[in-house]
Subunit: 212 residues, 2 copies
DNA sequence: GTCTATACGCCGATAGAC
DNA sequence: GTCTATCGGCGTATAGAC
């Protein structure tokens, strides 16, 4: 029965501390102190601080991509549609340090920057494809051009990827609540309001409220 | 004929450097070196680094609020409407370091945090009032409730306040072009697409393209 | 107002014993 | 794998001469 390795504990604690205070104000010393381990121990498991952040990013990426794992062919039900956003926003919350100080992190690590951008590109294409499918199902606007789907995808992405940060900025503290998150989901769907078929939108909203 | 004081030169150079590399990776030493002045000189003019950032924020605030200086009573012309966004996004670009590392800055300075939040609250109210006026002019949707205007205000604000950062994240470098900015303006109005009266929206878009 | 010189602390990272 | 000890570097900020 294997104990939890220090490598895993370092990752867990780093994520907690960085979510709380920002990635950039957490030093390797802080992490060691919180774990009651020595600096040498930490540097045995990770070459440097960037490697810790990068490992956490990979975990985020895996969870995030997994939240989209679905057959994109079929009609998109209101439950599917709401589910994408509910699940991914939960994940974004768990790794909110990534988004809060994103630009600073990307400036310090070229590899992370490249992978983040690839993930963003992938996500935008995925969101656009979902919008196109919803339109094909007859639940979104008139016969739209691909460009419109891209614009919808980008707008929802911008709100999605900045929502937790927006809450942290607006409230003084970093205690973000579940209802703050649900409010963000409604905010995302407000973008689509008037373009979604009314009964489809109502069903989506109902699912959001269940998530609360 | 008074020379430009070192105080002013410190502010100018700080803004340039911080826009380029991020507020947080620019030290007082960097600023001194760029200006060929001594640390003692800098600290004669400013108590600490936060005071520099705070002074720059005040400049931003003045310019930003000035860009909204208008009688809110009258009907809002497409030119007015486009103008608010064109002018303010230009200003946001000039002070983009504020938005790029916002959360880190607010965490380090309570006074700045309080003032930023106040400005955000003011702006959201202003945007909501403008939306209400556009609706009253018959150029926005049906008879909407105030809540809808607030939601529109928040959505446009989220895109507005994160656009420059989004560009910096998406491109590798920090060379943001004028056309990147205009694209952001269109993106903002895509949120309102389908809710604005068609001829009003067309006139607004035309003004955006002139700005390019 | 501006300079030189410097104190002090923290951070990232490594060497080498155990 | 984990520890102790430590190095070099940098960042903020101040003291005191000019």
């Amino acid at each position: 029965m294997p104990k939890i390795s220090n490598r895993v504990r370092i990752l867990q604690t780093s994520r907690d501390l960085m979510n709380q205070s920002g990635a950039q104000s957490i030093s390797t010393n802080h992490i060691c102190e919180a774990l009651k381990i020595s600096p040498g121990n930490l540097y045995y498991h990770f070459k440097n601080k960037e490697e810790i952040v990068y490992a956490l990013f990979l975990s985020f990426k895996t969870e995030f991509v997994g939240a989209f794992a679905d057959e994109p062919e079929k009609p998109v039900s209101p439950e599917d549609f709401a589910g994408y956003y509910i699940r991914t926003l939960d994940i974004a919350f768990d790794y909110r340090f990534l988004f809060s100080g994103l630009l600073a992190l990307l400036r310090r690590d070229d590899q992370l920057a490249a992978e983040y951008r690839a993930l963003q590109t992938w996500t935008l294409a995925r969101l656009s494809a979902i919008a196109a499918q919803v339109a094909e199902d007859g639940n979104l606007g008139g016969p739209g051009t691909p460009t419109q789907y891209d614009s919808i995808a980008l707008n929802t992405w911008l709100i999605w990827s900045n929502w937790v940060r927006h809450i942290e900025i607006s409230k003084g503290s970093s205690d973000v609540s579940r209802s703050d998150m649900v409010q963000g989901l409604h905010q995302i769907f407000d973008v689509l309001s008037g373009q979604l078929a009314p009964q489809f939108e109502a069903a989506v909203r109902a699912h959001l409220n269940q998530a609360e």
